[in-house]
Amino acid sequence: MVAPALRAQLESSFGERITTPFTDLGRRVGETVSTGIAALDARTGGLLRGAITEIYGGASSGKTSMMLSILAAAMTRDEACALVDGHDSFSPGMHSGKFLWVRCHNVTQALKSTDLLLQGGGFGVVALDVSDLDAKALQEVPLSTWFRFQRSIEKTPTILTIVSRMGIAKTCASLAIRAASDFEFEDRLLAHSVTMAEIVRLRFNPGLKPGFKNVCFNFYPSLSGSIARP
């Protein structure tokens, strides 16, 4: 049986339960929102709702700053946000309002908590930070877990942002960014960090070619929580 005929037969047998199960997926244009970093938005078009965004990089690469920037941008839109903190390393500061912090201590806790939050729904951004967790345990997480997360948020406005040392969500992520940073000092004072974000995967915006899309931006040290620094 030729593909179009098979497709038409399947669509008719699905009936009213699933309307146009194939055609919709191809034509769908997702809503994107700001990351809070103008340069990154200009290059990627923002974050796609109902999809996974993965940011990865080593220590001091700027991945956490990018994640917090995404959360802050969502909170300025008055959306409820959640951070599943895999190793209890988040430093509370400016984040307030509808911000949920889940302090985990291992991979199982982090994945279970994320699963529950995604199933519960209603969050604008759910960030899963597994950067400091055991790399071996993370490698052993089956790919089906990330597929399940992706299926959970599909057709919802929730954005799942995964932050890790290495790419773990693989093909489940619609947008994958590898981060690397260096730091600038002026007169022995930390001036800013220079973060280089390489767009490794960008599935929802076919106009952009991944791999060659490096974008550079700065993060500046925050004075909140510090009393003695100039």
Partner: protein, 488 residues
């Protein structure tokens, strides 16, 4: 007009109410004032049990000869719950309700016909609502409270007595339903009187001469001519359901079924009174747990789920023989969502999600971070997450650099040169410091025993993989160094 709801075999029905599997079975309720099971006697039996040959006053030993009859011990607590439910049912229709007896309530229907329809419709609705409580009622509507009570005791199902037709309609009711006073009934039977009509036909003056004022009062009742006002029930609302178990429950899973039935009943009663609850108390024998809800809810599934999660975290210390649930009533939450309301989780669903997450990570590890009003580093508390909280965050004017904290700070070995760190090692990591920014001195709470002081440095450490920026500090009181976190 007045409506009366009467529950026949009240003791049996109040026990069967929370045990739907007993529906249709022959049930005998036994009780002993002394509390000795050997002395227990039948205090009430339903129609099926009576048809099997069970009679009130039979000993429990004799009941063993009726294998088809289910024996249950009388539970005053469950009778009280059923009575409260009956009052709630009536209260859902009218604020003027009389608590006539444990098994009978009377409702003032004045003006309700414009709200609910004809009196026959009201009687049907009262019947249906009482059925939903798990009780099989008789409902009667009459022009005065006493005629309504007599009719509800005398007729099965629903009966509406038109004004002025009381005597005629009550005529066929057996005289035994007029009063429980045995001397009076014996006198009536000696006189050959068996129905209301027989007694009502006697002249009132002669009744007064022979039976006194008590006889005259009963004569008025038998004629359906009582003219007393309603005595309204004024007690505050209390939503409590209790179940006393014959066999103790030691596991949590069977307890879920018991809690589910009780909470279902309470939520149904709350809905009848147009109320919700924001606080639920669970008593498992002497063990008590209190569930606080951020908003008034009336969703039994959600409440049971939250109670079970709480009990899994704090299980009772011993097997349970008595389960009691009390809901503190509150006005229901009335929210009208707009088209452009920002994205946030449904509060009811969120509560269950948060309770499940708290079960995974611990109660103190889920919530909203709140920075404390102190300069002590990393001073915060985790408060309850509120999805209805208005936004207070504003967009930062520039993207800020994040610090990933090590909790607790890691003790470090630091080599100094001209007072500045030049080499650092902690927890398997080491390397030369290429740039050091500091020291940033701070101290505080010197008036307290756990005062703190520190000299902070931001140090860039060069490695083969690139440079990393750490925040380290030295405690000037003991000279020890710690790595506090990494900028990322």
């Amino acid at each position: 007009m007045f409506a009366s709801i009467f529950i026949p075999h009240f003791q049996v029905q109040s026990l069967a109410r929370n045990e739907p599997e007993l529906s249709g079975k022959a049930i005998a309720v036994v009780h002993s004032d002394a509390g000795d099971p050997a002395l227990q006697k039948v205090v009430e039996a339903n129609v099926a049990a009576v048809q099997s040959g069970v009679e009130p006053g039979m000993t429990r030993l004799r009941l063993q000869h009726f294998p088809g009859v289910t024996i249950r011990q009388r539970s005053v607590a469950q009778e009280n719950s059923a009575h409260a439910a009956l009052l709630d049912c009536a209260g859902g229709f009218s604020p003027r309700v009389e608590d006539a007896a444990h098994d009978t309530v009377v409702i003032d229907l004045e003006g309700l016909d414009r709200l609910f329809g004809s009196y026959a419709v009201i009687a049907d609705q009262l019947y249906d609502q009482t059925i939903l409580l798990g009780l099989q009622p008789n409902v009667a509507v009459a022009a005065n409270p006493d005629a309504a009570i007599c009719a509800s005791r005398g007729f099965e199902g629903t009966r509406v007595i038109p004004r002025g037709m009381e005597r005629k309609q009550l005529a066929s009711i057996p005289l035994a339903l007029l009063t429980a006073e045995q001397p009076f009934l014996e006198t009536m039977f000696r006189w050959g009187l068996h129905t209301f009509d027989d007694f009502a036909a006697l002249p009132p003056v002669k009744i007064s001469e022979r039976l006194g004022q008590a006889g005259v009062r009963l004569h008025t009742l038998a004629r359906g001519a009582s003219a007393r006002p309603l005595d309204p029930h004024m007690e505050p609302l209390r939503f409590e359901e209790t179940m006393e178990l014959d066999d103790a429950i030691a596991m949590l899973e069977p307890l879920r079924f018991v809690l589910s039935r009780l909470v279902d009943q309470i939520c149904h009663r709350l809905r009848m009174r147009h109320r919700a609850t924001h606080e639920v108390h669970v008593h498992l024998d002497a063990y008590e747990r209190v569930l606080q809800l951020p908003m008034p809810v009336c969703d039994s599934k959600m409440i049971v789920e939250l109670l079970m999660l709480d009990l899994e975290s704090h299980p009772p210390k011993a097997a349970v023989t008595r389960v009691s649930v009390e809901a503190i009533p509150a006005k229901p939450r009335a929210v009208q969502n707009g088209l452009f309301v920002p994205l946030s989780p449904e509060p009811e669903k969120l509560e269950v999600t948060l309770a499940r997450i708290a079960h995974v990570v611990g109660k103190g590890n889920v919530g909203s971070p709140e920075v404390l009003d102190t300069h002590r580093p990393d001073a915060f508390r985790v408060s309850r997450f509120d999805s209805m909280k208005p936004a207070t965050a504003t967009a930062p004017s520039f993207p800020s650099l994040a610090l990933r904290r090590f909790r607790p700070p890691l003790e470090a070995t630091v080599k100094l040169s001209n007072g500045a760190p030049r080499w650092i090692a902690f927890q398997g990591f080491f390397g030369p410091v290429t740039t050091a920014s500091g020291p940033w001195k701070s101290s505080g709470e010197w008036w307290q025993q756990d005062h703190w002081a520190r000299e902070e440095w931001d140090v860039r450490v060069g490695t083969q993989k690139g440079s990393m920026l750490f925040r380290v500090y030295c405690d000037p009181n003991n000279g020890r160094w710690f790595a506090e976190g990494v900028y990322d």
